[in-house]
Symmetry: C2
Subunit: 369 residues, 2 copies
């Protein structure tokens, strides 16, 4: 990490107070300490606080502390309480939080009459499978979006402070209003979880021969169905309204598909199915980044024996050909001694690379459904 | 490929006739020719037939041909017609097909009074993104399931012939009755396609900032939404009943989720959400193979600079540590100079490998949602 922008924007000696030393609070503390900032840690539990201090995430509070920025990093249902308390206790500070829902917290603060002119909510979209200070790392924010959620009383100067925080931690700041944020995470995270769980649940019952027919499509669509139910009950409960709104639109379109399937040759039915599939094409094309079926890249499928070192040898040889691999996907069919590596490269190098790999003795193969 | 089982089971000089020289027919021809079998090719279009013969997939029909096995490899809606014609034309032959639906074809043959005692349907679950003889390859069946669909009049001896065909081509034979097959592919392939398309379609409209929040979960669940609509209209139409049945059960459970989300703190609502999530856990656990969140493996997330050769170096060093990688998944966040390689290994070697990679200077990192 490079020099701290946040240090400059908070002014000389500006301290950051972090309330809550779980995974996110402790990770932010570790990252800010690494940048040389003064970090004050607070936690209801003295043992948890001692652990985070021991980890090097910050120091305990002291008389005369006057933090310029307070970050409340507790569970969503305690967030409004603690933000209100911190606004009272530190009348000069900007107070933010990191909860995964935003509109409910702001509404709660407004209802209590808290000084929301000094509150600006945020949501770093980072996490780990395990929580707690013990899993904290300074780098969990690297390359992840960090949503900053301006509202009627927040200012551009406050937004810049949180942007500097996000940039200092390697995140990409994204501005979204609280409602837009909640609808956004419903769409990109919460609804995919529900849909994946519902789809995977269909695999229950029946013969084992059926799940054995699974190809990569089923594996991809159901991967997140393995997520922790306890965590997700909380998330879905806290963002129930926006999640339900997206799911209702999903169900309405599903009903249209079911109508078309009831009489697939009736006038209008093929058009309805085509519309659903085409809209799916257009929707997935909106997701940025290297992953998914990215039209910018061509792909080669190479057979790789299921032996240690074979994949490394393939990638080394691709490097020797001077080709930068944009993405890699492995597929290994149960029972087969051979796996397939699907390699995405720029279209202009695909055929040269294919020829070079054939010349080096690799088998190129047809992709599978 | 090794010596042909099929050659033995068909008896000396037993020829195979393939009707339809698209992707599957030509690929089967190439594979059987490589095993030394006599392959007769037929196609309505003389030009398409010449192309497949030119590719080396077989020879044209000749007077006196008496094939022991006929494989009809045409589109699902022409399959019953051609199977019936081949049963008439070759009264000694076993006739099979490779269409992706099975029950409708059998019902059609029975309705015509065809000699179904010599018909046994099958479905090699292989394909490529592009069709046609021009995309044909002998290896597209390698490691894929090949469904054989016995019915009331088919015999164990006939099943063995198709098993030998599947094994000769590197596939794994799977026995499933026609109805069970159609319900199975609805579940593992057709319904995931619909669900993924419907989910991706939700991303249309609204600000570009929202799809930019996408993590790996959304990318995985919507990847197949990029599939070809024209192909999928046909598939969904041909298997409308079983697809609708699974989708209706999906919708019923979705309605339960929507009810719970309407009052997420009401008695019973958290239990309902928990049930949905837990059933998802149990469903995804039924999918065999290395992919998905596989509880048999531990995973390490390693930071890899987005530079040619870095991933190869990582895999080489994992090989040097004597560790067999069970799976690999790459994640690269838009705009970040660093990607993450998630490596699945046997749990007993995970911590040793983690230490070794740290000692070699790699950064281990927290996984992201």
């Amino acid at each position: 990490m490079t020099a701290a922008r946040l240090s400059t924007s908070l002014g000389d000696g500006g301290s950051v107070r972090i309330v809550g030393t779980g995974l996110l609070g402790t990770s932010i503390g570790l990252a800010l300490r690494a940048l040389g900032l003064d970090v004050i840690l607070a936690n209801r539990s003295p043992a948890a606080l001692r652990l985070a201090i021991d980890y090097g995430a910050g120091r305990p509070a002291a008389d005369g502390d006057a933090p310029a920025l307070v970050i409340v990093a507790v569970s969503p249902d305690s967030t409004a309480d603690l933000v209100a308390a911190e606004l009272d206790a530190h009348p000069q500070a900007l107070v933010t939080d990191v909860a995964s829902v935003k509109a409910g917290i702001l509404a709660d603060l407004l209802a209590r009459g808290a000084d929301t002119s000094r509150y600006l909510g945020s949501h770093p979209m980072a996490g780990r499978e395990r929580g707690g200070a013990i899993s904290a790392r300074a780098d969990i924010f690297l390359g992840r979006p960090w949503v900053i959620a301006p509202h009627a009383l927040s200012t551009a100067a406050q937004e810049r402070i949180l942007e500097d925080l996000a940039l200092d931690l390697g995140s990409t700041p994204v501005r979204l209003g609280p409602d837009e944020h909640d609808r956004g995470v419903a769409l990109v995270s919460h609804v995919p979880q529900v849909v994946s769980s519902l789809l995977a649940a269909r695999l229950l019952g029946g013969s084992d021969a059926v799940p054995a027919l699974a190809g990569q499509g089923l594996r991809d669509t159901t991967r997140i169905a393995a997520s922790d139910p306890e965590l997700w009950i909380q998330i879905l409960g806290a963002n129930a309204g926006p999640v339900a709104e997206v799911l209702e639109a999903f169900r309405d379109e599903l009903d249209g598909v079911l109508q078309a399937l009831a009489a697939p040759n009736a006038p209008g039915a093929p058009t309805r199915l085509a519309g659903m599939l085409t809209r799916g094409n257009q929707g997935v094309a909106r997701i940025p980044g290297k992953h998914g079926s990215d039209a910018r890249y061509a792909s080669l499928v190479v057979q790789v024996a299921d032996e240690p070192g074979e994949l490394a040898r393939l990638l080394t040889e691709i490097g020797e050909e001077g080709v930068n691999m944009e993405d890699l996907r492995l597929e290994h069919s149960p029972g087969a001694p051979i796996g397939f590596a699907e390699i995405a490269v720029l279209p202009e190098v695909a055929s040269t690379l294919g020829d070079a790999l054939l010349a080096r003795g690799w088998q190129l193969s047809g992709g599978t459904s």
